[in-house]
Amino acid sequence: MLKYIGRRLIISLPELLIISLMIFLIMYAAPGDFLDQYRLDPSVSPQRLKAMEEEFGLNKPAIVQYLTWLKNVLKGNLGYSFYYRRPVSTLIWERVAATLILSLISLASSWILGIALGVFTALKKYSIGDKIMTFLAFGFVAIPEFFLGLVLLYFAAKTGWFPISGMKSVYYSSLSTWERFKDILWHLILPATALSLGSFAGLMRYMRGSLLDVLNEDYVVFARAKGMPERVVIFKHAMRNAINPMITFLGFSISGLLGGALFVENVFGWPGMGRLVYQALIQQDMYIVMASGLISAVLLVAGNLVADILLALVDPRVRLS
């Protein structure tokens, strides 16, 4: 097992390298750079511009810039944000918590909801409940995330039941720990709903299809024939097989943990990674973009690895080698 994990990690290294190089090249090929806004500003002298170019290393050839960045990353230094004038790692670190709270909660809720409803609709195939859920699933898949966010925002503004923006109330610092927790949770409900409604529908359809396939298998018929209670047939025999393809899906979900909430963060003013990266892209704050690209690529590799390991744990037919 450990050997397998080690080998997978080694294989993924060149992939990460190429991804980082690609992101760098895209950013480098983009017209202009971060200093453009200063070049247009007459109050910034040419000498100062030159000094800044020197400081950020923008006057060096591309390959040197990339290699310097790579060297620093290997040392654990993700670079320096031009705009915020702070190390990228601290900037990202500040945002990671906010994004993780949001995306983990919506990941959990969409998976629980998706699998539960998927099993329900598969067992009650063609019933009214199944038809309604199928229709809802089609609907939620088709709503753009940002539109769902806007509609929820409208709902919040009209009813006044939920806060409309941000992650904490203005009076957050004066609250006790328990109240702080409640405050964040209260702010979290709408963005998490917007995020999970979009993804639960797909999961539900997938789970339904997968379970329906399994329910037609001989071993399920056999288990029923020998008189096993239906509960055991479904949860011990059918479910364990139906869940396998879902695990591969989970790997993809993990890779989207940090960057997947871009729209929802933008609509709800959630201070997360998505917004940081979006602003960095607009301002051509290169190292933030590079770092976040690298992190999401690492997450993708990690997600696939976790999915494979989980699959091996759940399904005895799969062996890691």
Binding site: M22, M27, P31, F138, I143, P144, F146, F147, G259
Partner: protein
């Protein structure tokens, strides 16, 4: 017995004499939601192709008098008598008393029946007997209520040529109108102005604020001369603007080419009144018609899906086909490249590619750019599937036969291998189009796609991002509903196609 017999005969007949296309079509028709969705899509495409015809206004024409105007009310009764549909002029009116901005319908008198002080009755009608215009001088008195007692604080005469329905129209009909309010803003404003005069200490001492208007003089311009009348209005008519089908208005281009100025519906603005607009779905920040913009934006969303999909599939067929058919190093290289593209999260890659290119391009160039960016991202996944299919088709006998009779590789690939992926491609293409539509909408929403003044559904939604604006003008959210309907329709049609193209369902 005979019925089953008949049925069997029917099936036999159908299997024998119906073409494959007919069988597929029949299977498709059996899928009810798919058929409905297809009809909706056809309607949408007709809307997009003949956008100029369906838009009552030029989508980029601004009307600064109509910022965030709500959907125009279409009246069907005139003075409680049923008439043909008409609209009234609208004005964004900041209430003098409550300081709230609301849209009010305007009363432009067109006919006045007046009782003069000497008891004689005269009728003036615009356009008749040389009557050119009406003006009214009105006395307006602002008063505040303190301790249950009303005090007049300000008298101001003004002249106007219109009144507002539900606000001061009684000035005309009854000679006197009165608006009262207890709003906090009004209390504050009047407290600021008059606290010292009345010795007030708190704004809550002002219990209410009122504006009373009375009609003073009516000025009638007749044959170039002005007549000043102090008279009582007995009866009046006001201007209405009929809503009509097939009306001539702005100059559009049918099918991008032929100039034409007939539009499906519109309001007949016979005296070029700038307050008269027919916004069936309201207007936006710049007073542009939301419906017309939605119609024009549909051109972008509906075409970007199809064009993007065609480009994607062209690339996917080329690369997937080549790497599946030839294998070896080409296969390795192409597939590793596809994997890398797939491993960068889609939307990041999209934004990054967009950021790589200059932001301020003309809209047509941005459109082409978006198409290519979206296709570039979709290409990798489809290539891999096609490669897999080609790998399995390559093993089949008919391909071996084609190779054996000496066809060149390119011909085998193009004539025998790739056509067999068509079923998958058609279904996959329909199900993928929504991805492009959502991608474009997302980019435009973030301000990276289509730019003002041109319209795209995502860009229009971006205007609704501000919570304050969204609650004041919820109709700005309507483009989202159009995105939703388009996407869900493509999904249903794709689903129906998948069922219809499944060989098992053709029976």
């Amino acid at each position: 017995m005979t019925e089953t017999n008949n049925n069997n005969q029917k099936i036999e007949f159908e299997e024998k004499y119906l073409t494959r296309g007919q069988l597929i079509w029949r299977a498709f028709l059996r899928h009810r939601p798919g058929v409905i969705a297809l009809c909706i899509l056809i309607a949408m495409y007709i809307l997009a192709i003949f956008a100029d015809f369906f838009s009552p206004y030029n989508p980029i024409e601004q009307s600064l008098k109509h910022t965030y105007s709500p959907p125009t009310r279409i009246h069907r009764t005139y003075k409680s008598v049923k008439t043909k549909p008409y609209v009234l002029p609208m004005i964004s009116y900041v209430d003098k008393v409550t300081y709230e901005r609301t849209y009010k319908e305007m009363l432009f008198p067109s006919k006045l029946v007046l009782e003069k002080p000497d008891g004689s009755i005269v009728t003036y009608e615009l356009g008749k007997d040389g009557v050119e215009s009406f003006k009214f001088s009105v006395n307006s008195i602002e008063s505040i209520k303190i301790d249950g007692q009303w005090y007049d604080v300000k008298k101001s005469p003004r002249t106007t040529d219109y009144f507002l329905f539900g606000y001061n129209d009684e000035t005309l009909s009854k000679g006197l109108s009165r608006v009262e309010t207890t709003s906090a803003v009004a209390q504050e404003m009047y407290f600021k102005s008059y606290s010292s005069k009345f010795g007030l200490t708190s704004e809550y001492q002002i219990e209410a604020v009122a504006v009373t208007e009375s009609l003073d003089t009516i000025v009638v311009k007749k044959d170039g001369k002005f007549e000043m009348l102090k008279a009582k209005v007995i009866d009046y008519d006001y201007k209405t603007y009929p809503v009509k089908w097939f009306i001539r208005s702005w100059n559009g281009k049918l099918l991008w080419l032929f100039p034409m100025n007939i539009h499906l519906f519109g309001v007949e603005n016979y005296d070029n009144n700038q307050y008269v607009k027919l916004f069936i779905l309201g207007s936006d920040l710049y007073g542009r018609d939301v419906w017309s913009r939605i119609v024009f934006a549909s051109r972008i969303s509906l075409s970007i899906g199809i064009i993007g999909m065609i480009i994607t599939f062209a690339f996917a067929l080329l690369f997937g086909g080549i790497s599946g058919y030839y294998g070896g190093l080409i296969d390795e290289g192409l597939m590793r490249f596809a994997e890398i593209i797939m491993s960068i999260p889609g939307f990041y890659l999209m934004i990054m590619l967009r950021a790589m290119l200059p932001l301020d391009l003309p809209s047509t160039q941005i459109y082409i750019l978006l198409v290519f960016i979206l296709s570039f991202i979709g290409w990798a996944g489809t290539s891999r599937v096609i490669r897999g299919m080609v790998l399995s088709i390559r093993q089949r006998e008919f391909v071996e036969a084609a190779v054996a009779i000496g066809l060149p590789n390119s011909k085998v690939l193009a004539r025998h291998v790739l056509p067999n992926t068509a079923t998958y491609l058609i279904v996959n293409a329909t199900l993928r189009i929504p991805g492009y539509i959502l991608g474009e909408a997302g980019l435009s929403f973030l301000g990276l796609g289509i730019r003002e003044p041109y319209a795209s559904w995502g860009l229009m939604l971006a205007q609704a991002q501000d919570v304050y604006i969204m609650t004041k003008a919820p109709w700005l959210l309507i483009p989202g509903i159009f995105i939703f309907i388009t996407v869900i329709s493509f999904n249903f049609v794709g689903d129906a196609l998948r069922d219809a193209l499944d060989p098992r369902s053709l029976g």
